[in-house]
């Protein structure tokens, strides 16, 4: 079957090709097409019976000629050849080299869909990753094996933030624990792709980097494969070669839009905003590939980047993502406009795994309660700021005015930092106490009395 070519295409419409009279074709089989001009295209069997086989063509079906299209069924699902040599390489959306170097030769090919990790085999992620960003480390910390997306919007510096995290991420007190980075970009501009490439180059990390690129002007359906290929490479690096892998995927919105495009072609019933009902499961198939496995030293930490359409966090893409990932880092247009970098809005941000990765055993004993106190005090400060906008700052009580100053200092000094500035977690916590000391002792009820005695500046001086 693998070597037979069929020329029985019976109909074609927007990305989908129907083949007649090819019995016994298995579901999910990879397909290779040759069009009248001799160009190769890739496809996948998505529905099959003896009478008709429906093929999704990744490069699209533009100018296909029914009578002059030759189709081969390869008898296996989409797979990626993997070996040590993938490090340092750049691939396209379906895993073919785009750096002008020869293709990967390996006896080992992996189905890019992966297989679901047995929940009983998972190990719970606990190791604190220091990103050097106070708003992340102090209040929404990242853990090795976590999936923590960046929710952003057009024009916000999510690429710079992601690149900074990749450059600075390291484990506390462990040397030689450098991350291998798998970078997947789909539907992004070549400029954005170049930015990342250069940023990694600067940090001299190219030999620890694998890139999968599908740019904005490249086939849309290919985007459905790009993250899968990247995660397949990541799984190989993490669980076969024992690396700690940091996967950055951007932009998930482009991925979801590609999925919607294909779903409409297939005639799937739309759920919300035209996205298919299975968007949740589909995204989960990607995100859930992050994690740790018992008895295996490697890990996959996943940082998907997505731009929220019209900054709407309730849009299906960020919404469903938030239900799957272990928290989210939300960027704020308001902070960005005020010149705060990184413009991380801490209140809607969250790290679900933080509670188990900080504290005396990992960072410092006061960390959990300091984080909680910062959240509470900043939330209160924003409330005061809202009030001040109505009645004017001069009518505020003395206590409330201190909250206003706290909010200002928190945003400028704690959240805000340089793009090259790497604060270790102790500096972050000390800074947190500097700020909390602007507030009276009595209102700091989330930290313990012992911690107040030890760290509050009023007590120390």
């Amino acid at each position: 079957m693998k070597n037979l070519e069929f020329r029985t295409a019976s109909s074609v419409r927007g990305g989908l090709l129907v083949m007649a009279n090819v019995p016994g074709i298995a579901a999910g089989t990879r397909v290779s097409l040759t069009d009248h001009a001799g160009r190769r295209r890739n496809g996948l069997v998505i529905r099959t019976s003896d009478a008709a086989v429906l093929v999704e063509v990744f490069e699209g079906t533009d100018d296909l000629d029914l009578e002059r299209t030759w189709v081969r069924f390869l008898g296996e699902p989409f797979s990626l050849p993997v070996s040590r040599d993938i490090l340092g390489r750049v691939f396209n959306g379906v895993g073919l080299p785009r750096d002008g170097r020869p293709p990967i030769v390996s006896g080992q090919r992996r189905d890019i869909n992966g297989a679901a990790l047995n929940p009983a085999a998972r190990a719970y992620p606990r190791e604190f990753i220091q990103t050097g960003l106070s708003a992340v480390d102090g209040m929404n910390s990242l853990t090795r094996g976590q999936k923590l997306p960046i929710f952003s919007g057009g024009g916000l510096p999510h690429n710079r933030v992601a690149a900074q995290i990749v450059r600075q991420a390291r484990l506390l007190g462990e040397s030689g624990s450098e991350f291998v980075v798998v970078f997947a970009a789909f539907g992004v501009s070549s400029q954005d792709a170049r930015f990342f490439q250069e940023s990694f180059e600067e940090s001299g990390a190219l030999e620890r980097l694998v890139m999968f690129l599908n740019l904005a002007d490249e086939p849309v359906i290919e985007r459905l494969l790009t993250p899968r290929a990247a995660l397949t490479a990541a799984e190989y690096l993490a669980f076969e070669l024992d690396h700690h892998v940091l996967v950055v995927m951007t932009d998930m919105t482009a991925y979801a839009e590609a999925l919607r495009e294909v779903a409409v072609l297939r005639g799937d019933v739309p759920a919300r905003k035209g996205y298919p009902g299975y968007l949740y499961s589909d995204l989960a198939e990607l995100y859930e590939r992050a994690g740790r496995i018992k008895n295996r030293p490697g890990s996959i930490t996943l940082i998907p980047v997505l731009s929220m359409p019209s900054d709407d966090i309730t849009h299906p893409i960020p919404d469903l993502t938030g239900y799957i990932t272990e928290g989210q880092i939300v960027l704020s247009r308001e902070l960005h406009a005020q010149g705060v970098y990184p413009p991380i809005s801490v209140l809607p941000s969250l790290s679900r795994l933080m509670k188990d990765g900080i504290g005396g055993d990992f960072t410092r004993e006061d960390h959990p309660r300091v984080a909680s106190q910062l959240f509470a005090s900043y939330a209160k400060a924003l409330e005061v700021r809202g009030l001040a906008a109505i009645i004017g700052a001069e009518d505020l009580s003395e206590g409330d005015r201190r909250y206003l100053q706290f909010a200002e200092a928190f945003e400028r000094r704690f959240v805000g930092q340089g793009e090259e500035e790497e604060r270790d977690v102790y500096a972050t916590l000390d800074l947190a106490w500097d700020l909390l000391s602007m507030l009276p002792l009595e209102v700091l009820t989330r930290v313990s009395e012992a911690e107040l005695a030890k760290y509050h500046r009023q007590n120390r001086s």
């Binding site: 099959t48 003896d50 929940p119 989960a284």
Partner: protein, 597 residues
């Protein structure tokens, strides 16, 4: 035997004459399992519990002759099963880190022997009814597994095995049915998941389920045998709250169904429960817990089945006379699985793509909760707690709105509260409970007669403060009278010192009913004392400066379970905290005037 005609995602059309609707089928060379969802002449449509990649038209299919059913017997507790009750630990040992397809492993281990103790009164010739207890197996130190006559069996006992060691397949009894057939019974039996297990009659639920979470127990109680929903947008703390309930509630058996949720959350439960002890029995919590996991990356069709698998196991323990709590996280994923299958079947969508039968399926699901008189005549209950994940946090979406009509207790989670790190982020205005009356009787009998009144006063204060907060946000705090200002501050105190509860703080994580009431009464005491002073003319600001205002916020973490006497004493002696201010502002008494002061 039949053959595959067409494959479309998880749906397989096949030629298989004589198969019944709902029957299990084994499909293709891989041996993937699925269930028949439609019949049309000799062709049948089945949905597979596993990914269909690699199946081809023409491959063989066979009907297995029974609907999706679960294996019930010793060995369930402490385990983790997938959506069709395959034991995941065992599968891990067999196929490695990733779940291979077409693996068939029985739910209960065949290698393990259990010590069976027969009921002495059962002599040969005795008439056995469905649901009768044949004997017991001590499954874990805290749970005695009662071996039941299956609900579809009754007849004359011919022979009951003596005490001894048996595996789950060994015959322990022979029964002559009414039609003369002789049936062998073992420690385990099977039951189809989509058919509720029978019971004698429904009982009224009378006892509150104590979760140790103040906002739940004190304000929006749930009864054993009741049904509750926890809706909330992502990040509002749904999972955390459910974990807290699974950890601390005073049920005897807890079944946690992870339906379309994160893999790491189940890992968290698996790793943390064995280390935690049950505050009610002092035993490791894992001994009473069972997990059913269909994580979000596992096949969608099995997701639909997973809640029924969990529910049937819950009913099985109920039939043994236990109080069972089943937590389903999340019913929205289950509903989405329904939607996905309906979409593939080409059924007409009604709201947001959901099929028209969404509401009735949800209602039938929750109806399987309840406190019942079992066939054996004892009392048992299934309490059902379903998480709901409304898209965009919009409670008017179909799953939330249908659920809201069905359940009695509604614990609404709020994004605003969660963003301000007010946990648990249960919104005290949106939530409701239809069980307050019954719960009040229990609290009055077991904790304090003042409970209902205190609860009502606290809620009134909270809702009044919401009104006041709106005024403040419009015109500033100066527009309030002193009394109003004090009410506002007292409400803040209740929110911080009572409603907020830290899951990670050792002392605060679980609050006994007594502690809950003492805190509530103490805080209301502060409010009352303060109000008296405000009416004497004390400015609210002076009251806020009293040390007790800050100290009270630490009561919840300062007084652990062992120190209830201390908390009782502290909250009883509040007058002292206000004495100096009272003296300062008290009107002159007549004796003072006589003395010419």
């Amino acid at each position: 035997m039949g053959k595959i005609l067409e494959i479309n995602g998880p749906l397989v059309r096949m030629e298989l004459p004589g198969v019944t609707l709902g029957e299990q089928v084994r499909v293709g060379a891989l041996g993937l399992v699925g269930e028949v969802i439609a019949r049309d002449g000799d062709t049948a449509l089945a949905q597979l519990y596993e990914d269909s990649t690699g199946l081809a038209p023409g491959e063989q299919v066979e009907g297995l002759g029974h609907p999706l059913s679960v294996e019930l017997g010793p060995g369930l507790l402490g385990g983790i099963f997938d959506g069709v009750q395959r034991p995941l630990e065992e599968i891990w040992r067999i196929t490695g880190d990733r779940i291979a397809r077409g693996v068939h492993v029985p739910a209960l281990s065949r290698d393990r022997k259990w010590t069976f103790t027969p009921i002495q009164e059962h002599q040969s010739g005795r008439l056995l009814n469905a649901g009768d207890v044949l004997g017991t197996v001590q499954e874990t130190a805290s749970i005695e597994h009662r071996i039941l006559v299956p609900p579809d069996v009754s007849g004359v006992l011919l022979e009951l095995a003596p005490a001894g060691e048996y595996d789950v397949d060994a015959t322990i009894a022979r029964v002559r049915l009414h039609d003369g057939e002789i049936r062998k019974l073992s420690l385990s039996h099977r039951w189809p998941v989509r058919i509720p297990r029978p019971f004698k009659q429904r009982d009224h639920a009378v006892q509150p389920l104590i979760t140790g979470q103040r906002i739940l127990d004190t304000f929006y109680p749930l009864l054993k045998g009741g049904k509750a929903a926890i809706p909330g947008p992502f990040g509002a703390g749904k999972t955390m709250l459910q974990h807290q309930i699974a950890r601390w509630c005073n049920a005897e058996i807890v079944i946690y169904v992870g339906c379309g949720e994160r893999g790491n959350e189940l890992t968290d439960v698996l790793e943390s429960l064995p280390k935690l002890t049950d505050p009610h029995t002092g035993r490791p919590l894992m001994e009473r817990t069972l997990l059913v996991a269909n994580t979000s990356n596992m096949p969608v069709v099995a997701r639909e089945a997973s809640v029924y698998v969990g529910l049937t196991i819950a009913e099985y323990f109920r039939d043994q006379g236990y109080d069972v709590v089943m937590v389903a996280d999340s019913t929205s994923r289950w509903a989405e699985a329904l939607r996905e299958v309906a979409g593939r079947l080409g059924q007409m969508p009604v709201e947001e793509g959901y099929p028209a039968y969404l509401g009735s399926r949800l209602a039938a699901f929750y109806e399987r909760a309840g406190r019942v008189e079992t066939l054996a005549g004892t009392s048992g209950s299934v309490t059902l707690i379903g998480a709901v994940s409304p898209p965009g946090g919009d409670f008017s979406e179909p799953v939330t709105s249908h659920t809201k009509e069905i359940i009695q207790t509604f614990w609404a989670l709020s994004k605003e509260l969660a963003d301000a790190r007010h946990y648990p982020a249960v919104d005290w205005l949106e939530s409701f409970s239809g069980y307050v009356g019954q719960a009040a009787r229990w609290w009055a009998d077991n904790v304090d007669p003042g409970w209902a009144d205190a609860r009502a006063r606290a809620l009134e204060l909270l809702s009044e403060s919401e009104e006041l907060r709106r005024i403040v946000n419009l015109v500033g705090v100066d527009a309030l009278s002193s009394e109003q200002r004090w009410s506002l501050e007292a409400a803040e105190l209740i929110k911080e010192a009572l409603l907020q509860q830290s899951a990670t703080d050792e002392v605060d994580s679980y609050a006994s009913p007594e502690k809950q009431y003492l805190l509530l009464a103490g805080l209301l005491g502060i409010y009352g004392q303060g109000m008296k002073l405000v009416q004497l003319g004390v400015p609210a600001q002076r009251l806020l400066e009293l040390p007790v205002m800050h100290e009270a916020r630490r009561w919840k973490t300062r007084y652990g379970a062992a120190d209830m006497a201390g908390l009782r004493e502290r909250t009883a002696g509040l007058t002292g905290d206000f004495a100096r201010l009272e003296l300062e502002y008290s009107p002159l008494t007549s004796r003072d005037q006589e003395r010419g002061i």
